[in-house]
Symmetry: C2
Subunit: 616 residues, 2 copies
Amino acid sequence: MYLGSWLNRLGRGLSRPIGKTKQPIWGSLSRSLTLSSQRVPEFSSFVARTNTCGELRSSHLGQEVTLCGWIQYRRQNTFLVLRDCHGLVQILIPQDESAASVRRTLCEAPVESVVRVSGTVIARPLGQENPKMPTGEIEIKAKTAELLNACKKLPFEIKDFVKKTEALRLQYRYLDLRSSQMQHNLRLRSQMVMKMREYLCTLHGFVDIETPTLFKRTPGGAKEFLVPSREPGRFYSLPQSPQQFKQLLMVGGLDRYFQVARCYRDEGSRPDRQPEFTQIDIEMSFVDQTGIQHLVEGLLHYSWPEDKDPLVAPFPSMTFAEALATYGTDKPDTRFGMKKYLRKEDIEFIRKFAAHHFSQEVLPIFLNARKNWSSPFAKFITEEERLELTRLMEIQEDDMVLLTAGQHEKACSLLGKLRLECADLLETRGLALRDPALFSFLWVLDFPLFLAKEESPTELESAHHPFTAPHPGDIHLLYTEPEKVRGQHYDLVLNGNEIGGGSIRIHDAQLQRYILETLLKEDVKLLSHLLQALDYGAPPHGGIALGLDRLVCLVTGAPSIRDVIAFPKSYRGHDLMSNAPDTVSPEDLKPYHIHVSWPTDSEERASATPSKYLSS
Amino acid sequence: MYLGSWLNRLGRGLSRPIGKTKQPIWGSLSRSLTLSSQRVPEFSSFVARTNTCGELRSSHLGQEVTLCGWIQYRRQNTFLVLRDCHGLVQILIPQDESAASVRRTLCEAPVESVVRVSGTVIARPLGQENPKMPTGEIEIKAKTAELLNACKKLPFEIKDFVKKTEALRLQYRYLDLRSSQMQHNLRLRSQMVMKMREYLCTLHGFVDIETPTLFKRTPGGAKEFLVPSREPGRFYSLPQSPQQFKQLLMVGGLDRYFQVARCYRDEGSRPDRQPEFTQIDIEMSFVDQTGIQHLVEGLLHYSWPEDKDPLVAPFPSMTFAEALATYGTDKPDTRFGMKKYLRKEDIEFIRKFAAHHFSQEVLPIFLNARKNWSSPFAKFITEEERLELTRLMEIQEDDMVLLTAGQHEKACSLLGKLRLECADLLETRGLALRDPALFSFLWVLDFPLFLAKEESPTELESAHHPFTAPHPGDIHLLYTEPEKVRGQHYDLVLNGNEIGGGSIRIHDAQLQRYILETLLKEDVKLLSHLLQALDYGAPPHGGIALGLDRLVCLVTGAPSIRDVIAFPKSYRGHDLMSNAPDTVSPEDLKPYHIHVSWPTDSEERASATPSKYLSS
C-alpha cells in the first residue's frame, strides 16, 4: 500500500541523522508525553475538535469525531491524510452524490491547507491496515468538511525526506516547524524543562526567581550587548548570566534559587553559538560541591526522557589534571577508549594534521607481537627506557601509540584533538565508536583557580570567574603561589561537550576583595555592591548552570542547537525570517542620544562583514 | 514574654498594608507550600542542615538537628532566635563551663551573622511556650555552633516593623529580600507560576516555547529598546511581546503554545511600570473567544493560592460599551457599586476635581424622601423629564447622582474617575468599600477594532494591535464603516486593573493585508514574513497575555509591582543597587559602530533628566 510505504519513508527518511529513532516520531509523541507526565493531558480541551489526529485507535471505533489539521497528502480523490501536531490519520472522502460539497472541499483544497473534518471512526478494510502508522487500523468516514484556510504554493514541501538548505529552513521557519523533527525537538525540550521544574520546585523547594536582563556592564564584559537608555551616554548591558543576582539572592536568604534564564553573549559570528541562549541556573546556600553534584545528577535522572535508558548516578568524575593527561582535554568524550583499528597509512594523515594545526611533531609507535617497537623514535632510547615506557603506557600487542613532546598542556591538547580525529577517521570506515544512544556524563573537578594571561604571562586571570572559591586545602597557597591553587569549580561533560559548569562561591568579603584587587588587579568599584553584600551576612553558597540548548541538542541527537530552538539566529547572528538586525532611522535613534559611526571604506574592507549591509 | 510580644509585632507590624494577613507570615509559608504542591518538598536535601528553622514542632522532640541561619535576635546571652527562609526557632545557649566555646560563638556573633547550630529539640519549660510562634512549643539545646560568616553593621535593621525608604530598600535589595514580606511575595509568585505551568503543560498539553528577545523593530515600535549589533547601522530590538512569534508558532503547527515571557517596554519614567516585565503568554489554534476565556478561568482557578477563597468561574463579563457607560472605564473595579454615604460638602471637592482634571462641569442631584430633586439642574427640566430620568437611572431615596454633559467617552470617563475619587474619599472616612480580600474578575468584551487617531481624527489606528480579528458579525462594515467594527478582543480585569488582554487573530492573509495597508496605512514590508506565513496554511488561532507582575501584586496585596520583583528598577528605570544604566567607554562602543550624541546645554535643560548623569 502506497501510504504505508510513504509512512515508512517518513519514519526512516528524515533528512538528517537523529541518533536512535526506533519508530516514526509522529504518533509516538503523545504516548511519551503521557508517560512522562503520569497523566494524559487534554489536548482537545477548549477547542472545536473532539480528538487529535494522532490519538485515534481501534478503541474509538464508531465514535463521531471532529478533527482539525493540515492536508498532508491526498490519493486519487479517495483518501486524504490529515496531520496535526499529534500525528496523521486517514480520511475517507465520501464518493456519493449527496456528499458532493464535502468531496469538493476535500478534493480541491491544496496540500497544507487547513480543514475541519467531522465523521465516524471506522475500521479499515481487512488487509488494508497499516501497522507502521499508529492510527493505521482505522480511518475517518468524512461527513462534513470545512476549509479553514487555503494554502498557496509552498517554497518547499512539508515532508521530512525533502532536503532543504538551512538558510531556506530558517527563512521559512514557520513551515520548517511543521516537520516531525522540529515538533519532536520542541516538545521534548518543553517536557524536559517541565520535569526539571517539578524536581527543583515541587520536590526540593527551589524558588523560581526572575532576574533582570537590563543590568550594569560587568568588569571585562566585552561580550555583553549594550542597550542605550534615554539618558545620554548611559547604557544597560544584557548579562551573560545571572551570576551576580543569584549570589545576591543567597545573601537575601532565598536559600534555593533556580531560573530557566535567558542569557546573552555577543561573540560576533560563531558557528554553533547563539547570541541569546538559555541556561538552567541554580544556586543554593549551605551547600558543598558534592551537594551540587548530587542535585544535578538527580535533576537529570528525573527529567531524562522515558524512552531512553535511565541515567545511572553518581556520574564518574576525574580531575582536570587527569582529564588533560588522559584525554588531552577538559571535556573528554568518555564513550570510547580509542585504542585500535588504525592503519599504517593513517599515520601520515595524523602527522600532517598535527603539523598543520599545532606546528607539532608526532611520532607513532607500533608494538609488535614480540613487544618490539616499530617506530622512528625507537633508536633514540635505550632498551630499558623502552620497556619502562611500554609498562607505564600499558601498551599491548597491536597497539599504536602516538608520541609527542612539548609543553604539557599543548602536547596533551594536541593528542586529545588527534584522538577525536582518529575517531572521525574510524567512523568514516564504518566503525561505530561513538554510540549516539549512549550518554556518558562526567564530572571534571579541581580546575586551577587562575591561569596565566596569554598576552602577559606574569599576570593572572580567573580560569572561570572571580567568584569561585579556592579549594579549602589550597587556601594557604593564595598568598604564596596562587597559580597552584585549585578552585572549587566543577564542569559537567556529556559525550565530549561541556553542558554545565559551576562552583562553590567565595562568601568572605575579605577573601573576595583580596582576589579581585591584589591577584586579579580588577577595578573593585564596579563590584562594590557585591563586595558589600558579602559583608552583611552572606551564607556559604554555590551553584551551577546547565546549557539547556546544548543538552537538548545532545538528547535529541540534533545536528545543531538551531534544531532545538524555535527561532534561532543564523551563525552570523541574523534572523533570516524577518531580517534582523535591521537598519533604524536616525529619528528612532534620537531618544537614545546615539548615532552610527559609519566605517570608512578601508575599515570596511578590513572587516569580515560583507558590504551588502549598506544596501537595505 | 518579650519574644512573644516581639513576634506579635512581627506579625502585625509590617511596614505596609498587605491586605488579608491572618497570621505571621513566617512559619505559615512552608505549610502553604506543602498544600499547594500536594507533597512536602525536601527543603534540606543536599545541604549540611537536617531541618529548616521554621519546620520544628513538638513531633521533633528529642531529635538531634543541625540548623543553618541568621541570628535574628539574642536575649541576655541565654536565648537566640535563629532565622532561615522557613521561619524562626529559639536556640538555648548553653551556660555550663564545658560549652564555653559554643557560648562564645553564639554570644559574640553580631545580629544577622550566619551560623550553623547543632543540638537537641527540647520542650520549652511549662508556661514559656509561645503560641504565636509556629515553633513556639520547642527550643534547641545547642551542642555545637560554628560562625559561618560575621555580619558588619547594617544600613538598616532586618525587622519588618522598621520602616525604610524605598530608595534605601532598593539600594540594599539583598538585605530587603530578607524581609518576611519579600520572601513571601517571591515564593508565592514562584508557586503560582509553577501551578500555571502544571495546568498548561501537564493538564492541557501546551508546549513551553522560548522565543527570541533580539528581534526586528516592529512598525511603530517607538517603545522598543534598541540593541546595536556589530554590523554598522544595524540594530536588534527588544520586543514588547512575543506577538509575532506566537502567531508564527501556530502557523508552524505547534497547536498550543505558552511562555512565561520576558518583555520590554521603554516608556521613560513611569511610576508603576518596569522597563522589563513578565507575561504569561498563551496562543492556541482552532480556538474561539469562549475557549480562551474558559482556559484562563481554569488557569487562574488552578493556580490560585490555597489560603484564599477559591475563584468562582465563569467570571462575569460586560461589553466595552457597557463598561464605559456604567463605570466610565474599560477596567471597572466591580468590588463596589458606589451609591451612598457622600456628604453635601463633598460636592465642592468633586466639582473642583472635575473642573481641574477634565475642564468639565458636574452637577449633583440629590433625591429626597418626597422624590423631589435637590439640584441646581432641577430648574432646567420639566417635571415629566425629571420623573423619566429618575426612573431611567433607578434613583432611590437618599441617592446622590452626579450629572455631566459632553462627548460620550469623555463624560463617562470623568464620571468613572469621580467614582474612584469618591471611593477614596469614603475610605479615608473609614468605610471599607474595596475589600482587599475580594477578587472581582471581569471580562470586558467587544472593544472597537479601530480608534480615530487623536492627532488626526480622520485616520484610524488599531485599538489594540493590527492582528486582532474583527467580530464575525461586523466584517461587512470593514469596507463601509470600519470605525464601527468591533474586534474579537477581550480584556481581563481584576479589581479595576487590566491584568490580561488578548484576541482571536486574523488568519486570512488577504484580510490582514487589507487592514494593514488600506485601513491603517502601515508599511507592510516590515511585516512581510507574517503576511506570507498567513498564506501558507495558517490555522484559525487566538491567545492572551496575562501581566504576571500586576497579577501577583494584586494577589499578595503588595503596594507596588516592585514588591513582587526580586530586583526591580526604580521608577526612573535605574537599578539603585548597581547604578545601571551606566556610562560606557568609547572603546566599548566601538565594536557597535555608535557614539553618543551629547545634548547641548539648552537641550539638556529642556529635558527632564537631571544633570548629575554627567558626573559619574
